[in-house]
């Protein structure tokens, strides 16, 4: 059984946040999908890739992130692309080992993914339908 939640993340104005840690931008009308795949792997996907650029002077390079798969304590796949001043190098929807490697070195991200995976697995036993659409 696959359990999935579809959530409308942004409305017409999108979402931007900035600070010393970096700048994050999500396009208007973005939908987040969270599902459990084979073997209980957590799949997270966005219909519009999220853009992240690190903070600090001279940081011109950012990254688009469109989806991630998490299982057994690490990200097995992250799809996205490195971008210079918002212009991506290649497709924003293809797997990137560079992004997966960076994600796996961030304990904050792996902890969140682990918690989300546990929650989805627990919720899977609660919901009786194969696909659940959130609000």
């Amino acid at each position: 059984m696959i359990t999935g939640v579809g959530v409308v993340l942004t409305g017409a104005s999108g979402y931007q946040s900035g600070g010393s840690g970096g700048y994050t931008s999500i396009a208007p009308n973005t939908i987040l999908g969270v599902s459990l795949g084979a073997g209980g792997a957590l799949n997270i996907g966005l219909n519009n890739p999220l853009y992240f650029k690190p903070g600090g002077a001279g940081a011109f390079t950012g990254a688009y992130i469109s989806s991630a798969t998490f299982n057994n304590g690490s990200f097995s796949q992250v799809s996205g692309a490195v971008a210079f001043e918002g212009i991506p190098f290649g497709s924003r929807y293809t797997p990137s080992s560079y992004l997966a490697n960076q994600f796996n070195q961030n304990s904050s991200l792996t902890n969140v993914a682990q918690l989300l995976q546990s929650t989805a697995q627990l919720a899977q036993s609660l919901v009786g339908c194969s696909v659940v659409v959130g609000h």
């Binding site: 939640v5 959530v7 001279g58 992004l99 960076q102 902890n111 989300l116 627990l122 609660l126 919901v127």
Partner: protein, 197 residues
């Protein structure tokens, strides 16, 4: 120095500068990605599960003020509401984790405090507000009671509440019983029978 040598030297220097710039940019991006703090994202993502794990009377229906519309718009309007929903979801998650990892066979008919369950990691033994649960173990169901942020509950006076919650339960979603929060989990399959939704 020949002109050709000078030209080659300048090309090599130019390429080294470009390579250094690219390396510096990738180093900055890598450092940024490795140090993203996902605390706020955790609250937003977990609160997104509220429709699945919370009953309508505790905000699982998304019909309360500021709980409809895009998730990040809700978060921007009222971050405290997102935080409260996150605490409710975490309460359900921890109760479910306790239920899943505990063998209840020796506890039939007992009322326990979750802080006594040493088989469960200490961070999971508490509700979203870090207070222990009162747990009533029945033959078919296990009832988890949280004070909902109102301190450590007095388990000795909650047996009747647990019985009423077990009788009224349709599923394992977190629901309200007065000021308390309750989830009733089935001992047969992890959760009680489900209503289609």
């Amino acid at each position: 120095m020949k002109k050709t040598t000078r030209v080659v030297l300048w090309i090599v220097i130019g390429l080294l500068i470009i390579a250094g710039f690219i390396w510096w940019q990738m180093w900055q991006l890598g450092r940024g990605l490795r140090t993203i703090h996902a605390d706020n994202a955790q609250e937003v993502l977990l609160s997104a599960m509220s429709a699945e794990v919370l009953a309508p009377d505790v905000g699982g229906d998304g019909q309360q003020p500021n709980t409809s519309g895009p998730l990040l718009d809700q978060y921007r309007k009222d971050p405290n509401l997102t935080h409260q929903r996150y605490l409710l979801v975490m309460t359900w998650v921890h109760a479910s984790q306790i239920h899943k990892t505990t063998d209840w066979s020796a506890s039939n008919g007992k009322m326990l405090g979750s802080d006594t369950l040493t088989n469960v990691p200490s961070e999971s033994r508490v509700d979203g507000w870090h207070n222990p649960f009162c747990i009533s173990v029945g033959q078919k169901q296990v009832v988890f009671i949280s004070s909902g942020g109102n301190g450590v509950p007095d388990c000795s006076v909650l047996q009747q509440t647990a019985g009423e919650a077990a009788a009224a339960s349709h599923d394992a979603r977190l629901t309200r019983a007065g000021k308390l929060l309750v989830t009733v989990q089935s001992r047969s399959g992890g959760t009680t029978a489900l209503e289609a939704h």
